[in-house]
Amino acid sequence: MSKVNLLKPNKENINLFLGLGVLFFTLGILDFYLNNFYEKNITGFLPGFISFFTPLIFGMIGLHFVRIEFSGIKKLDELNKNINTSNFNAALSFSIILLLIFSIPPLLNWFIFDANIAGDTKEACTGGGACWVYIKVWFNRFMYGMYPNAEQWRVNATFIIVLVFMGLGYFFPLRFKKYLTLYYVIFLPIISFLLIYYLISGGEFGLEWVETGAWGGLSLTFIVSFFSLIFCFPIGMMLALGRRSDLPVVKYSSLTFIEFWRGVPLITVLFMSAVMFPMFLPDGTYVDKLIRVIAAIVLFEAAYTAEVIRGGLQALPRGQYDAAKSLGMGYWRLHLLVILPQALKLVIPGIANTFLALVKDTPLIFVVGLLELAGMLGLAKTNPKWLGFSMEGYVFAGIIFWIICYSMSKYSYNLELKYKTDR
């Protein structure tokens, strides 16, 4: 055994250093664990300030001993390379480990082990954890808002039919493939609108009429985002083309329009649609609240979409325009056949981000009194029978929105990879 230098762990004394390292590391974790969960301070004999930092100091010493260069143990080398390259790195890594130890057990307890899920009254919630009974009881309200319970199959049926029609695009025979865009941009929106009008809204074919004020919950989030998506895309495309036009009137009116909507917050736009817009219509005309809201969101998001598409148009090399013009193409043929297909491919991630922002903006419609998921939560939490469960509600809604948005962003990332063309 060669000389032991505590400041420079080496391979010769690997067993000693590994032993010391593991010992200090465990000591650090143990100290922290006992401190936080059993309120026992094993280093209590030290002054308060030092004793507070002992876990970190122990951990750093432990990691220092383990930091043996070329130890010959593959796992250890990998560990050192990834989380333990210097004292500073070791301190950060150890703090994160402590943070995980500190936060994960209480979170798990709250979410799963101490949570209540059986029963259907407030009294069933006895544990210290989450009361998922609340979510269970209110589930229908969170999904469908004030839509009558007996009629909710209509909402489900509409969504299923729309999804089926959406999926049909995949099974188009090859010779109809060129009509696919047409199908998605024109045919599908019309079908969805008719379905929503006749099936969800009702009033004909013996279906009970349900006013839009009663729609709500997550299904309303979907309806609003779906229609806003469909309409804001073509409008945004027109605006983007308008902004790049050579004609001054077209150019500056598009520019003003875009900059105006991008400069104001959505909440004021919704306010406008709720209180100011009726003043601008002939007396006695009534436009449904939901339609006004969708129109407001469409105008707002179209401005953002336009800017994204403009980015794509600008990124195309001039040669594309020149080549198309030299083939004798006019403005519309040039754009529809040559420029837009390439530009849109370039801006898929940007468009996806805009759409993601749109979905995340839908909860704002509460300002005009439409209650989608977040709005319903607000209503449920003031119900005198179910006071004090706002945490569960917001966590539930957060998880749902997170799943929707995260999968959307992952999907757009895949699309980006799929359509990537090397230049």
């Binding site: 390259t85 004609l247 917050p265 002939p282 995340k360 300002v367 977040a374 957060g398 962003s409």
Partner: protein, 381 residues
């Protein structure tokens, strides 16, 4: 040929004029039938409503214009705090995202994926209605850092009490001016004669010493007033002295900061990654230290990539601060487009003023950032 250019323009113009004409005509008619007259005279009337939290002197007897100012200042307050905090957090997370340390890297990316995929409004609600409601009542609150109390009614921290604050403020401004000229001088010297001064240290010194002198010679005096628990009634307690920061402000800043920081972090990461590896290697090979490489080579280039999208995030944060209305933080939208509009019923004027205000803020931030962006852009010869 000419027609091809004129016709579309004419149609656009016609469309705009028709729409606007239609709307104004209807508005005129509607206002006539309801007996409302268009005008901004109502701004001078007495507002007669109270605002919970105000930076300037305000009560119900003040005018609507004053209420508007209170709302605007509150909006600006939350935006400025949010911008400062989210920049700091965003840069830290963005750099952490590039760390070779697996744990740090993963934690940063989990943070980003988590907070950016949940609607901001939901986050505000969560902090305000769920997290901050779990805090203790004033009488049960424990000391925080020896001076502050975090309670369900907000955060109570010590407040500075100044004597001759204006002298202090003037000295601060003077020191900033001196620093500005010193830096210009140092830069010129470096370009002309190649002499390098320790710019940062000298600037810091000026910034600390001149204001400190005013404490000795200028009669400036600083004292702290600490919050103390006071019993109002049998079960009602409050704190006296110090500053009370309302929970609405805390929830809003917290949510805005955590949400916007994710986007800034991604911008920072993209900016640093956008610098070619060759730049770092070339800089290192001419003998610059790692610190100098970062400061003189990487950052100036990365900033050019980072700034434009970050400007957008600052604008978004400012606009998103209008979500304050959802938790009753008295910002511009709540005070003016909410309460004031309910009382006066002047929808058109008030929505127009509110929108114009946000437009002005947005345009001024983007103008400033464009100017800054231009000043650090590559100057090609």
């Amino acid at each position: 040929m000419k027609l091809k250019k004129i016709l579309p323009q004419f149609l656009t113009l016609l469309f705009i004029v028709l729409i606007f004409g239609f709307f104004t005509m209807n508005a005129q008619e509607n206002m006539d039938t309801r007996g409302i007259e268009f005008g901004f005279g109502f701004l001078k009337q007495e507002a007669s409503f109270d605002i919970q939290f105000s930076l300037i002197d305000y009560d119900g007897s003040k005018s609507y214009a004053r209420a508007y100012l209170v709302g605007l200042l509150n909006t600006l307050l939350v935006s400025v705090i949010g911008i400062v905090l989210c920049t700091i957090l965003g840069v830290v997370i963005g750099v952490a995202r590039l760390s070779p340390n697996y744990l740090i890297n993963k934690t940063a990316s989990v943070y980003i994926e988590f907070f950016r995929n949940i609607p901001l409004l939901l986050q505000i609600f969560f902090w305000y209605f769920a997290a901050l409601r779990a805090l203790p009542m004033p009488e049960d609150a424990s000391l925080l850092l020896g001076t502050s109390y975090m309670t369900i009614k907000g955060l109570y921290t010590p407040a500075p009490i100044w004597n001759n604050f204006d002298v202090f403020l003037i000295s601060l401004i003077i020191s900033l001016i001196i620093i500005f000229f010193f830096n210009r001088y140092a830069k010129r010297k470096q370009e002309e004669a190649g002499i390098q001064y320790p710019k940062f240290l000298i600037s810091l010194g000026i910034f600390l010493i001149i204001p400190a002198l005013t404490f000795i010679f200028g009669g400036v005096d600083l004292q702290w007033s600490f919050p103390e628990l006071k019993q109002l009634a049998k079960t009602s307690f409050t704190y006296e002295g110090g500053v009370g920061i309302p929970p609405e402000l805390i929830a809003l800043t917290l949510a805005l900061t955590l949400y916007t920081a994710t986007f800034i972090a991604e911008n920072v990461r993209a900016g640093i990654q956008g610098i070619g590896k060759g730049q770092k290697e070339a800089a290192a090979s001419i003998g610059l230290t790692p610190g100098q490489v970062l400061k003189l080579v990487i950052m100036p280039q990365a900033l050019r990539i980072i700034i434009p999208p970050t400007t957008n995030q600052y604008l978004n944060l400012t606009k998103n601060s209008s979500l304050a209305a959802a938790i009753a933080y008295p910002d511009l939208v709540l005070v003016f487009a909410g309460t004031a509009m309910m009382q006066t019923g002047r929808a058109i004027e008030i929505v127009a003023i509110t929108m114009a205000t946000y437009l002005t803020i947005s345009l001024s931030i983007s103008l400033f950032m464009n100017w800054y962006n231009k000043s650090i852009a590559i100057k090609e010869k």
